[in-house]
Structures are given as C-alpha cells and as structure tokens.
C-alpha cells in the first residue's frame, strides 16, 4: 500500500482499521508496521475527528416508545381484540344476569305474599294443595 492510498483511506474511513474495507485491512496493517511513524502521523488527524464523533452519544429508547412499537404489531392487536371481545362478552353476560335478577325481584314484589283463605288455605299455592283438599274432605 502506498502512503497516498493509506492517507486516502484514513480520510475516508477514519483511524480505526476495523472500519476500513475488509480487503484493505491487511495491507494497511502491514504498512503501519513497516512505517509506524508515517502511519501514526496520518492516523492522528483522523483520530481527532473520530474522538469528536465518539462524543455524540444518543440515549436509548424509553419504555413508552418501546411499548408503542410492540402495541402496533399484529400479534398484540389480535390479543388486545380478543381481550376486548372477552370483556364485551362478560359485560353482556353481567347485563343479562342483572336483568334476570331485576325481573325476579319485580315479580317477587308484585306477586301477593298471602293467599286468601277461601282458595285453599296455606296449601293452596303448594304441591300439597291436593293433600289439603283430601284432609278437608
């Protein structure tokens, strides 16, 4: 590798050989070994810029963003829809049960609690009403 090419590659890819094209690294390392001072001089300028670039770190994603992305997946939406349907079903069932209870309560309140004596006495509204008739006879 010529000094010019070495310098050119440092200008393009920076001071770290691991960022250089794979097929140039071996030749670049050989050049650095053969001419350490020249190589170091060339790389020093590139390294200063690399160090400045390294100072620009980006904070990782927060939980809110991560959650929003996961919630946008088809699997999450399907699961959420299933859950929604389950709750809707449970809601309808609860509504039905409440209606039935209200109906039962209304019937209980509206129906007479006692039976007039002339309709068979205490047995008239029970399974023993026939028995009551037999006893009377």
């Amino acid at each position: 590798m010529t000094p010019e090419r070495f310098s050119e590659l440092a200008e393009i890819y920076g001071a770290e050989l691991r960022r250089w094209p794979e097929d140039r690294r071996e030749a670049a390392a050989a050049y650095s070994e053969a001419y350490p001072e020249e190589a170091e001089r060339t790389l020093a300028a590139a390294r200063r810029l690399d160090e400045a670039l390294d100072g620009y770190a980006v904070t990782g994603p927060g939980a809110k963003l991560t959650m929003a992305i996961v919630e946008a997946t088809p699997s999450f939406r399907t699961a959420a829809r299933r859950m929604q349907l389950w709750w809707q079903g449970a809601g309808f069932a609860a509504l039905g049960l409440a209606g039935a209870l209200a109906g039962a309560l209304a019937i209980a309140l509206l129906m007479p609690m006692t039976v007039p004596p002339d309709e068979g006495g205490a047995y008239a509204m029970t399974a023993f009403s026939d028995m009551a008739q037999i006893v009377d006879e």
């Binding site: 200008e11 890819y13 810029l49 620009y56 994603p61 939980a63 991560t66 992305i69 996961v70 699961a79």
Partner: protein, 204 residues
C-alpha cells in the same frame, strides 16, 4: 424491556424461549406467525440502532421516534412477505429508515426553508452548542450542517459501523460514491469543528 405482547406458548403454558441469537430472517418468520417473543427480540435488537440513526440524521428526538415507529410498522408488514436470501435484512431496514428520514427532511424544507447549501459555510457556526462547550451539541450542530447524503454516509459507516458495501447498498449508491461522500463529509466536519475550536478560543 418490560413490555410484553402475546407470545408463543408451549404445552405447559411457558413462553417459548428464543434460540440464542437467531438470525433476523428466522425472527421475521416467527413474527409472521404472531410470535410475541420474536417481536420483543426484534424490537430489542433493532430499535436502539434505528432510533440512533434517525436522531443523528434529523437532529430531533421527537421526529426520530416517529421515524422509529414507522420503520417498525414496515417491519411488521414486511414479515409475512420476507424472502430469505433475497436481501440482507439490515440493509433493507436501514434503507427504510433512511427513506423515511429523507421524506421528513424534504417536508421540513418545503415548509420552512429553501434547499440547504451543498457545501459547508466555513464562517462562524451558530451559537448553539458553542456557549456551553458541550461536545454532543457541537458534533450535533456539525452533523446538521452537512449536506444530507454526507451525513447519511457518516452515520451508517461510522456510527453504525456498516461495511462500505452495506452502507452503499442501504443508501442506494455505488461504493465509489459512498467513499466520496465520506471523504467530503469528514473534511467538512473537521473544518466546522476546527472553526468552532478557534471561535471558542477567541471567546475565551
């Protein structure tokens, strides 16, 4: 990550563990089958990278988060259609994120400004990032001053450590064009930062 989606359950109800370092393609196949564990793994692997690319290209965290969300929507849509061996997933992914960033920058230009200059103005940089000497702000300002393609090339090659072939493919340019963008980008950055240092020295 602390976020759970519907996952794949085994017979005893336990979530199916991910194989150690599955390929992206294998994960995509599982995502296509609505595998929640694969979704979480993909988000864990790619979100920090995509977010960092968008932040550095756009210089705006909120917009970058929008881009990250939109990129992942594209992944979820693409998963059932992904053809193994056709393209490298990362190349496709970076390409999607770059295109979304370009759209965003185009809209910004349409709304706020005319075309940015093709070369960096070596004059005094804006005060932002100079008064406090904050390295992040200084480099952020320097990157923001670069023409769009030079910035993209630097972000992919330097920060993302993509090979020249991968970076060129993601940007849709030749390797020669990529190298030219990188060389000009680094030259412009150095000029900007040296100017910033000189400016800061005179202020001190």
């Amino acid at each position: 990550m602390g976020v759970r989606a519907a996952g794949t359950k085994t017979e005893n109800g336990a979530e199916k563990p991910l194989k150690s370092r599955e390929t992206d393609e294998a994960l995509l196949a599982r995502i296509a089958r609505n595998d929640g564990a694969a979704v979480r793994e993909m988000v864990g692997r790619k979100l920090p990278r995509i977010l960092a690319v968008a932040v550095r290209i756009l210089g705006d965290r909120v917009e970058a988060e929008d881009i990250a969300q939109e990129t992942f929507i594209r992944i979820w849509r693409q998963a059932p259609r992904w053809e193994s061996g056709r393209a490298r997933f990362d190349t496709w992914l970076y390409g999607v994120a770059l295109n979304l960033c370009r759209d965003r920058l185009r809209r910004r230009r349409e709304v706020y400004t005319a075309e940015p200059p093709e070369t960096v103005d070596p004059g005094p940089p804006p005060d932002r990032g100079l008064e406090d000497g904050d390295t992040i702000r200084t480099v952020e300002a320097a990157l923001a001053m670069l023409p769009e393609r030079q910035r993209e090339a630097l972000v992919l090659q330097y920060y993302e450590e993509l090979s020249n072939t991968e970076a060129a493919a993601a940007m849709g340019v030749s390797i020669e064009a990529l190298e030219s963008l990188l060389a000009r980008g680094r030259r412009n950055l150095r000029a900007f930062l040296e100017n910033t240092d000189a400016h800061a020295d005179t202020r001190d």
